[in-house]
Amino acid sequence: MASVQIHDVRKSFGGFEVLHGVSVPIEDGQFVVLVGPSGCGKSTLLRMLAGLEKITSGTISIGDRVVNDVQPKERDIAMVFQNYALYPHMTVAQNMGFSLKLRGADKSEIDQKVNRAADILDLRRLLERFPRQLSGGQRQRVAMGRAIVRDPQVFLFDEPLSNLDAKLRVAMRAEIKELHQRLKTTTVYVTHDQIEAMTMADKIVVMQDGIVEQMGAPLELYDRPENKFVAGFIGSPAMNFLEGTLKVNGGQPWVETANGAKLPITAAPAAANDKSVTYGIRPEHLEFADDGIEAEVVVVEPMGSETQVVARIGTQDIIAIFRDRRPVAPGDKIHLRPRANSAHLFDKETGKRVN
């Protein structure tokens, strides 16, 4: 096991730079999730860590060793691919033991290590099968088994769950997390799914357009997103954004929207009066009230444990989630009150957090 230091890494394809100086410190044993929309450079970063892509500038170290010019096989990492990349002509056991075979390990050692990994992942019964004969979840487990057998310093996962159906994805998510808790191997996991990031990570790195927008613990990112992008990306359903101007008239400050609604905030941020801001409020931080913002119910989605309501304020739709059941129907006029201490304020131009 080892820590990983990614320092000011850049990557260009031809003259086109896709990573603009990314730095991510990863502690020994940490589970780090790189998350972002497609094309943000997260997979490229992972492939550079694996040694499948050259590093244009900057350094990547695993443990104390800078690995920029180290061959992939010398890096002591194991990777799980999105399409699993199982060798179709080898049995499960051969797939898992392939790296040991190449290393020249003797047969009893290969058998022993393969069996140990098979036990961890409950693959014993499948060892003589070919990848074709396995289901998606089983293939996924074999791919992880192949990584475990190598007992690497770092596990790399490249969107490993995106080929699975929703139910299996939830199950495998828990399985990967449990595996990490058991093996405590440093793990870098790439996904575009923020729920995977939230549920699995010790540390989330949110990326967009080749830069790191924010990194931190899942709830840290959820509670205090540093900018509008992170605020909108983390959390489902996404945070509501309302455009408005900041009003600080001596006492209690508020944000006023174009149609006159007053959105409460607790403290006046260090910003001038009448500044244009984006007011962010998560769906679960909206409450029914008698005197809140007036909204018209558009859609009601009861989910049992909670009810999602899409409501229209002026011309804008916002989503609210309520845990208590209340008889609302499309067309109803309701009043919503944002919880002032859960409101997020972002600069309208830069998108940076201002409160």
Partner: protein, 319 residues
């Protein structure tokens, strides 16, 4: 022709019983037969009939312009004691084995090269196909000049370089002639092997190579443990075809050497043509041609059983 009764028959009316012919005409199983009939007729007329006629002729003493009588195995008994026939069998085997082996090696190497990223990839791939596109007789004429005893460009170049002092008699010397026709055949046959194997290579997912790289495989090991096993099905097919084409080759030999010198390059196909058509002894020519069948069946059988062994391609798909 036929009507299908959909409404209830009116009372008192007699339902006409369909005839056997009508039933044959609408029965689902027979319908399939009717649809296959045109294709079957085509195959019978142009493939099966000539094949069986040829085999039948080999048991007669047919000559051109005069029908023969059944003579049993007489033609084959003649051939058994015919040293030229056995020479042609040897030539054919030598020609097929050497040319196919080299075509496979060169074709595979070329396919691996063409599978890499390089500038003008599409253009180079197209260029590789040229020998395959040029009509055989045309390329044979070109080779004829290249191998000419007096004007050969190869001899000329080697003399200019000071490596030899006399022209090489490419098509006049037995061993040179064999080597020359084999080379010409390889030149023609490599593109087919290369392009087909290239198609096979492109079906191998790049992530398998990446996974193997991370597993610690060198480039040779990636070829040995990933590329080659995944390519075996297509290798089996392409090499079966290559062997069949080479074994039955006629055009190139006939245009270059006509089987000479002193039958050194006579293949079974050319010998069959010479005996059957030029000498007019159809029965004997047919016997030589028929003698090729066991070899061809053996080649097909080998690749067939080779293909059946690959368990990893079978089994249920769980996708």
């Amino acid at each position: 022709m036929t009507t299908i009764q959909t409404s209830m028959p009116e009372a008192g009316k007699v339902i006409p019983r369909s005839s056997a012919w009508d039933r044959l005409w609408i029965n689902r199983n027979w319908l399939a037969m009717w649809f296959m009939l045109p294709a079957a007729a085509f195959l019978i007329l142009f493939l099966a009939y000539p094949l069986f006629l040829g085999v039948w002729m080999s048991f007669t003493d047919d000559r051109i312009g005069r029908g023969g009588v059944f003579v049993g195995l007489e033609n084959y008994e003649w051939l058994r004691d015919d040293s030229i026939f056995w020479l042609s069998v040897f030539n054919t085997l030598l020609y097929t084995i050497v040319a196919s082996a080299i075509k496979f090696a060169v074709g595979l190497y070329l396919a691996l090269l063409l599978n890499r990223h390089m500038p003008f990839k599409a253009l180079i791939r197209a260029a590789v196909l040229i020998p395959f596109i040029v009509p055989t007789v045309l390329s044979a004429i070109a080779f004829w000049w290249i191998y000419d005893s007096q004007f050969s460009i190869i001899s000329w170049s080697l003399i200019k370089m000071g490596l030899i002092s006399h022209n090489i008699n490419f098509l006049g010397d037995s061993n040179w002639a064999r080597a020359s026709v084999i080379f010409a055949n390889i030149w023609r046959g490599v593109p087919f092997v290369a392009i087909t194997l290239l198609a096979g290579l492109q079906t191998v997912s790049p992530s398998l190579y990446e996974a193997a790289t991370l597993d610690g495989a060198t480039s040779w090991q990636r070829f040995r443990f990933i590329t080659y096993p995944l390519l075996t099905p297509i290798i089996a097919v392409v090499m079966t075809f290559s062997v069949l084409f080479t074994f039955t080759d006629f055009q190139l030999i006939w245009a270059l050497t006509r089987g000479g010198p002193v039958n050194a390059t006579h293949l079974m196909a050319t010998l069959s043509y010479q005996r059957g058509i030029l000498s007019g002894r159809l029965g004997e020519g047919a016997a030589i041609a028929t003698a090729m069948i066991p070899f061809l069946l053996a080649a097909i059988a080998i690749s067939w059983f080779g293909m059946q062994r690959r368990k990893w391609q079978q089994g249920t798909d769980n996708d």
